[in-house]
Symmetry: C2
């Protein structure tokens, strides 16, 4: 028979089994962490009608969309989880209680140019809190707590949640009569880390934006405000009273910073940072970025912010919200690439592999059933192979325990349990075997999926 | 602004929040159950190159495929999880240990005519065990155990796993010189429940198949063999010695039935049933169907079988396997439709909703952080609303507990905890509140997602 070359499309992550277990462990921790804050899980279709998905239209993303027809229908694959959320909230408005909190972990599609570390199919892990008419700023204050719990749960330690407020920026620009240009100023200032102060100054005073040298200096002085959160907030107080939008933004920033300790977020993992603006005009208040302190080149691993109106393309209802997104597929790729994954954790599909030494598998089946009833993942190797091949299978899977059942063990109602890491083998009763393995697993599974040793 | 009508495509399931929690609970139980048997989780792309996905070509499914081009690429959405598995195993052969056991729970796409209970995007939950060259029949014996544990874990009780063996059927047909016609005979016999014995007889003796009356009678007598598993297997012994394929199939059926008790499957949930053939030519040995005893009209809710060669379109390696598939989206739809879902279980996004009675949320934030650290899902209602509106929000979410924090509670370091089902409210310390809620939740979450009361 003529064969087709099996292959996976470029830009589509397909993991080997042990990697997949690592990925799933991370996804499970993120899901659990999100769930602790009262978010509904949501699962929307991957395909939407093109006119619905592209209601906003234009923009960079539209070129990247996977769009096609099926019968008479013009269809598109979702390119983020925010537009489907907007559709969902507008469509099911009457059935939802507001604030509506949802998280979604799902695949999205963007036909970007394929290159190393860039994916066309990738998981996003999003949370959003949507208000009906208005949404209290205390919700903004909770977001850093969720980011902190999630990343520390994964095992990351050296990261920083950087927070700013667009109203502080907009208010500041208004003070200086720069409201008109504030959008392009913020997009330029956002590049500060990438291109440096001089290039930013040149762009600000260049023909496109056209600021005076003094205006550019004011802006650069403003975004150069640094120090502890208390120092930055105190420096911002100097500007108070000159613009109501600024004052509102400063109040919000103060509130977000004030509740950090109560939410359990240490100072060292949080910074009020006036250089953060997020490139999107979508955000109107608090904005968030999260960087790995030892890998700033990776950029933000969790970003988001406050927006005024989630679903204006679908409904007249005013639906403000605040949310964040983790690019999970890229994060996993980067963590693996940089050696952050904890390879000490169990990546085998089973906790115990039975290797029966008799033709009749009855004893193995009974004991495996008992162990499974107790929650242990047990697998029976039932193939007729040489002993060496059976052990090589156990090694290849990386199972922590092998259970041998020979004539002797069966007669004695016992099982020989081999700890594959230590090599130690003991003959135990069924109950003892269970306890022995459970104790070992508790030890083995104690770590986090990420090992962050710092530099 | 002109609005786009928000809508979800027909044939695409999109659940309301409480339903989604029910669905996710079912999916989690299936995942856990599969995991107990040593299966790797797998996650393959939803999009594959069309030539890879359609290597087998032809068939009913091809017309239903979502196929499109992006740039120069001819792409298709997966229509099942088996073809991607075949590709995966062929592509990553050198990196896998065999038998390779994997489960996958994922969405697949078929552009069927939309009708009630039919989905174009739906979850399948599959397990497969793939051997390299050969695969021991003990793997076939384990499959009913997995089905049994999975469905009882969900809460189903009145279901039956029906098992047959294609070799028994093929061998029987060979005995009667009907090998040539065996495919069409089996497809016809498979319809017995749907169309009745007379129609089957007419089809068998009709022009397309052309059996003699005596041959048709032999076949109908054979598939009419009924009774306990022991009775059916014993009746089959009468045919032994007349055809080697039959004898092999009978040995396999005997082995599968023999290990049931060891695997913990009660007789009443299992039947050797000679009418089961599965419509697909793909299966070559053991075949499985699972029916709900009170709803036979739903058809099989979990089917599968043994096949000789998983990936012949991609590789010369002989890769036999055995597997099953649950059509999860349809199953959920049917269970909800038939009133099987257990609405007593918690479908709120949070276990406890904080309703602060003071402007300052500090106390609520601290206590919520404590409860979350202990694994409780806690949400703070921070909106400025009237008390009645706050309670109405709690009611709408269906949270089991509301925690009130007023000046009095804060001064005393206490919290007023209201059990929303009983209406009972008690003032407790932080530690007491945690214990009180945890005890209530243990009670509340004790049931299964399905309530099978029988008829």
């Amino acid at each position: 028979m003529a064969k087709v070359q099996p292959r996976t499309l470029s830009g589509f992550m397909e993991l080997l089994p042990a990697q997949q277990i690592q990925f799933d462990r991370m996804a499970a921790i993120i899901r659990e962490s999100f769930s602790l804050y009262g978010f509904f899980p949501l699962d929307t279709p991957l395909i939407e009608a093109s006119d619905v998905l592209l209601a906003k239209g234009g923009g960079e993303t539209e070129k990247q969309i996977y769009r096609f027809t099926k019968g008479d229908s013009d269809l598109s694959l979702r390119f983020d989880l925010t537009v489907p959320l907007a559709k969902y909230v507008a469509l099911h408005y009457a059935d939802l209680a507001f604030p509506f909190r949802r998280f979604q972990i799902g695949k999205v599609y963007r036909g970007e140019r394929a290159q190393r570390g860039r994916f066309r199919e990738f998981y996003q892990a999003d949370i959003d809190i949507i208000g009906d008419g208005r949404l209290d700023v205390s919700n903004d204050a909770e977001i850093p707590a969720i980011i902190y719990r999630t990343f520390t749960g994964l095992g990351l330690r050296r990261f920083q949640i950087r927070v700013n407020n667009r109203k502080v920026l907009n208010g500041f620009y208004a003070m200086h009569g720069l409201t008109q240009q504030s959008g392009s100023i913020m997009r330029t200032v956002d590049k500060l880390e990438k291109i440096g102060e001089k290039s930013v100054r040149d762009l600000l005073t260049g023909p496109d934006i056209g600021l005076s040298d003094q205006q550019a200096a004011e802006i650069l002085r403003f975004i150069a405000i640094q120090g502890t959160n208390a120092q930055v907030l105190s420096a911002l107080e100097q500007y108070r009273g000159r613009n109501p939008v600024f004052d509102e933004g400063l109040d919000e920033l103060n509130l977000v910073a004030r509740h950090l300790a109560g939410f359990g977020v240490p100072e060292e993992n949080f910074a009020v940072d006036l250089t953060i603006a997020r490139g999107l005009d979508y955000y109107t208040g608090t904005v968030y970025e999260t960087t790995m302190l030892d890998h700033p080149e990776i950029g933000s691993i969790c970003s988001g912010g406050r927006f005024d109106n989630l679903a204006e393309y679908y409904t007249d209802k005013q639906l403000p919200g605040v949310g964040i997104s983790i690019g999970l597929t890229r994060l996993f790729f980067v963590l693996e690439d940089q050696g952050y994954l904890n390879n000490q954790l169990n990546t085998a599909p089973a906790d115990a592999l039975f290797i029966p030494m008799t033709g009749d598998l009855s004893a193995a089946i009974s004991l495996a059933t008992q162990l499974r009833d107790a929650g242990l993942r047990a697998q029976i190797y039932g193939e007729e192979k040489k002993f060496k091949q059976k052990m090589s299978y156990a090694d290849k899977l990386g199972v922590p325990y092998v259970i041998f059942l020979g004539e002797e063990e069966i007669q004695e109602g016992a099982a020989s349990v081999k700890d594959m890491r230590s090599g130690q083998q003991v003959k135990l009763s069924a109950g003892q075997a269970l306890a022995h393995i459970q104790a070992g697993l508790a030890e083995l599974n104690r770590g986090t999926p990420i090992l962050d040793r710092g530099v």
